[in-house]
């Protein structure tokens, strides 16, 4: 019997689903062992019957042993889909950082819904201003939630997107009935750049010119970007983006600093507090950082971490 798999994307971009497809030939090899019973990006199972005549109060997700959900929870439909996935899937995987920590869409949690609506439907230069859409569209929740704020999550697979190697590992481990071997250290632990220890650095600067490195030499010969004075979220971000070969974190391969897309090292960690501590303990003035909350909680604004500022109502 093939393993029944259901997959859904909530407030998301489909990047996690493309990461599944980026398993490439490995996905074709796995396919005979998997029976995708629901996956809107690739197959045509519908919530309310294949003839569209079902009861709108009874959203149908087929029974599955494994459920994968990407995206955070932003509106009533996302919540209903998530609850149906939880009810019908034996094991539920939060796929990607939107699902585990809110991800980029949770940046909106720093603002009230009314401010968003005002700008989007009445404020943009190209708009013919009009009232907010409210008919037959699912109402917004007050903010973006990670999945585990609404239902029990069994496996966390962060990453924006998660590396295909770890998606494969999670599925294979499930097929083999064992715990998945997923990274638990920090991006720095997986980064080969040269660290010379605490230096004279007193501030961090914006990424307005490229890092200093010799392009002819490997990443392992480049000085740590944080030590070069660039804000790099490596110390407080979960490892994993380098994949199974572990050569280097993916952004570092492009010679740019980490922005924290795998969320905190520990599932319930706080990237902003951890980073401010890390910088302060190295004598770096934290006031030099522009956009502190939006920068340090860029990927982990759910769980009540990012909130509207009192001044903004």
């Amino acid at each position: 019997m093939a393993l029944r798999v259901a997959e859904e994307g909530l407030s998301s971009c489909s990047g996690c689903e493309v990461a599944i497809l980026n398993l490439g030939e490995r996905l074709l090899a796995l396919a005979p062992q998997l029976d995708f019973v629901h996956m809107p990006l690739l197959m045509d199972h519908k919530y309310f019957g294949q003839l569209g005549d079902g009861d709108l109060k009874r959203l149908e997700i087929p029974q599955a042993e494994l459920g994968l959900v990407s995206g955070g929870v932003r509106n009533q439909e996302h919540l209903e889909v998530l609850q149906a996935m939880r009810a019908n899937c034996g094991t539920l995987v939060a796929l990607g950082t939107c699902a585990t920590h809110g991800g980029i869409p949770a940046l909106i949690n720093g603002l009230a819904n009314a401010e968003l609506m005002e700008r989007y439907y009445r404020g943009c230069e190209t708009n013919d201003p009009a009232p907010d859409p409210t008919e037959t569209v699912p109402p917004f929740l007050e903010r973006v939630y990670a999945l585990d704020e609404k239902v029990k999550v069994d496996i966390y697979l962060p990453g924006c997107p998660p590396h295909p190697d770890h998606i494969a590992e999670a599925v294979l481990a499930f097929l083999e009935g064992r715990e998945p071997a997923l990274p638990h250290k920090s991006v720095c632990d997986a980064c080969p750049t040269v660290r010379q220890g605490k230096g004279q650095l007193k501030s961090v600067r914006r990424f307005l010119q490229n890092a200093q490195y010799d392009p002819a030499k490997p990443i392992a010969d480049m000085r740590c970007l944080l030590e070069q004075g660039l804000l790099c979220m490596g110390p407080v971000t979960r490892a994993g983006c380098s994949g199974a070969d572990g050569e280097a974190p993916r952004c570092l391969k492009a010679r740019v600093p980490c922005r924290g897309c795998y969320g905190p090292v520990r599932q319930n960690g706080n990237q902003m507090l951890d980073m401010l501590n890390a910088l302060a303990s190295n004598g770096i003035d934290i006031k030099t950082l522009p956009d502190r909350a939006g920068g340090l909680l860029r990927f982990s604004g759910a769980h009540g971490r990012l909130r509207p500022r009192p001044a903004a109502k």
């Binding site: 490439g24 990006l41 197959m43 045509d44 013919d128 569209v137």
Partner: protein, 450 residues
């Protein structure tokens, strides 16, 4: 008895949508709508962020075409900061953006759309998908999966991250290309072009040859078109150029992207979170009436091939000539989006080779430092799903003061609604609703690859 049919979710598309079709007491289609079910608000929540960080944030608008948002955002921030991008930086940007078109088109044609044609519109939904295709045609599927993957890995090996890229930066690019990397990409790009030629031949023989009058009139509507063209010769250009807005009669206006708000407007309807762009400059208002549409234009592959005067790569130009001989200019059949998509696949592969053949692409100067300042920038590229516009205003601190975006799919929201109505009227008669009929309605949406 009157009733509503809900196709929810619309599947094998990139976003989140629902179709509702109202049948009257006689079982006739009285109304239909394509509802966009979510809105995340990137325009609003990038306010206050340092502008140089924004290209790494807005990539998350779309996990299928993140390179497009990454490119448009960098172009907009360059203008805000007054940055001059070195020639090699500009070449690397175009290379990445056009390469990203290649795997996107393979994904859409084979993974999302082809099951309707190969398995059949009325095939059991459990096999009418890419996994069913893999069982029915294993050799084809293996080749498709392999070549799409190869394209993705070419981007990832050079640029570090392929989904939600980071390698473009305001002022240029974050790393130069070595000769070794160039040689590897040249070899890979040659294979991609061979595969694109195979795809075109396969599709002509197995899909397009079978497009009868019914298939060509699926979701058929008559509209204008929008797309970037090279200002020098009116040729197809995915990376840069002037916007050309064509009327249904084929006459057109060209304009600088910075003037987009003088030419385009956006309507809000009560029943969709997505806004509805329309041609404000035509001065006729906005209506999705099938018989008398107002202000409606389309974007994406068919639009680009309609607005361009020519394609400056030989194989794609030959395909365009054949396409025009058969379907005229502008071609209106919605199904032809698929055909146009494969012509663009050929173009993208040829263009990638052209860029790589320029040996100055390995010049080590790929980025000039930038200085935060107050300014405005409008970055525009052609994304797979249409003309992508990012418009930013920065304050003195170089942080975003306000932003407006029109993304590719959005241009087609009104046309998709019209095509859904057309397809529903044609497929549902006398209250007879079948899975095949409902899938035909979705096929009209899939042409646009939303």
């Amino acid at each position: 008895m009157a009733k509503t049919i809900n196709i929810q979710p619309v599947t094998r598309i990139e976003g989140h949508a629902r179709i509702s079709i109202q049948l009257d007491d006689q079982g006739r289609v009285a109304d239909s709508k394509l509802h966009i079910m979510a809105m995340r608000g990137f325009e609003k929540f990038i306010e206050g962020r340092p502008a140089e960080e924004v290209p790494r944030i807005v990539s998350r608008i779309c996990g299928i075409c993140p390179w497009m948002h990454h490119t448009a955002a960098n172009k907009a921030v360059d203008q805000c900061f007054g940055a001059q991008v070195p020639p090699a930086g500009r070449k690397l940007r175009e290379l990445m953006q056009v390469m990203a078109h290649i795997s996107d088109k393979i994904l859409h044609f084979f993974f999302l759309a082809a099951p309707d044609f190969v398995m059949g519109a009325g095939a059991d939904y459990k096999i009418r998908n890419v996994l069913g295709l893999a069982q029915a045609a294993p050799e084809l599927a293996a080749q498709v999966v392999k070549m799409r993957q190869a394209g993705q890995m070419m981007l990832e090996r050079f640029a570090g991250k392929v989904i939600h890229p980071v390698a473009m930066v305001p002022g240029g690019f974050a790393k130069p290309m070595s000769q070794k990397e160039r040689d590897e990409l040249l070899a890979g790009a040659g294979e991609q072009l061979e595969f694109a030629k195979f795809c075109m031949k396969y599709a002509k023989e197995n899909v397009f040859a079978k497009l009868d009058q019914d298939a060509l009139s699926l979701g058929r509507i008559t509209t204008g078109f929008l797309g970037l063209v090279d200002p020098a010769d009116g040729s197809l250009n995915l990376f840069d150029g002037a916007l050309r807005l064509m009327k249904p009669d084929g006459s057109y206006l060209d304009f600088n992207c910075r003037q987009y708000a003088d030419f385009l407007g956006e309507r809000v309807e009560t029943w969709s979170y997505g806004k509805f762009p329309y041609a404000r400059v035509w001065g006729e208002g906005f209506s999705m009436d099938l018989e008398a549409p107002k202000g409606i234009y389309r974007s994406n592959t068919l639009a680009r091939l309609n607005v361009c005067d020519r394609i400056n790569t030989p194989l794609a130009q030959a395909e365009l000539e054949e396409f025009r001989r058969r379907f005229g200019r502008p071609a209106q059949s919605t199904t032809l989006y698929h055909w146009a998509r494969l012509i663009e696949l050929v173009y993208a592969c040829e263009r990638v080779l052209e860029i790589l053949e320029d040996e100055t692409i390995t010049d080590p100067l790929v980025r000039n430092p930038v200085e935060p300042r107050a300014g405005r920038g409008v970055g525009c590229v052609e994304a797979p799903r249409g003309s992508l516009i990012h418009d930013y205003v920065t304050g003195d601190d170089g942080c975003i003061a306000s932003a407006n975006m029109i993304v590719g799919t959005t241009h087609n929201l009104a046309p998709m609604n019209m095509s859904v109505r057309r397809a529903a009227l044609d497929a549902i008669k006398g209250g007879q609703v079948s899975e095949e009929a409902l899938n035909q309605v979705e096929m009209a949406v899939r042409c646009y690859d939303p």
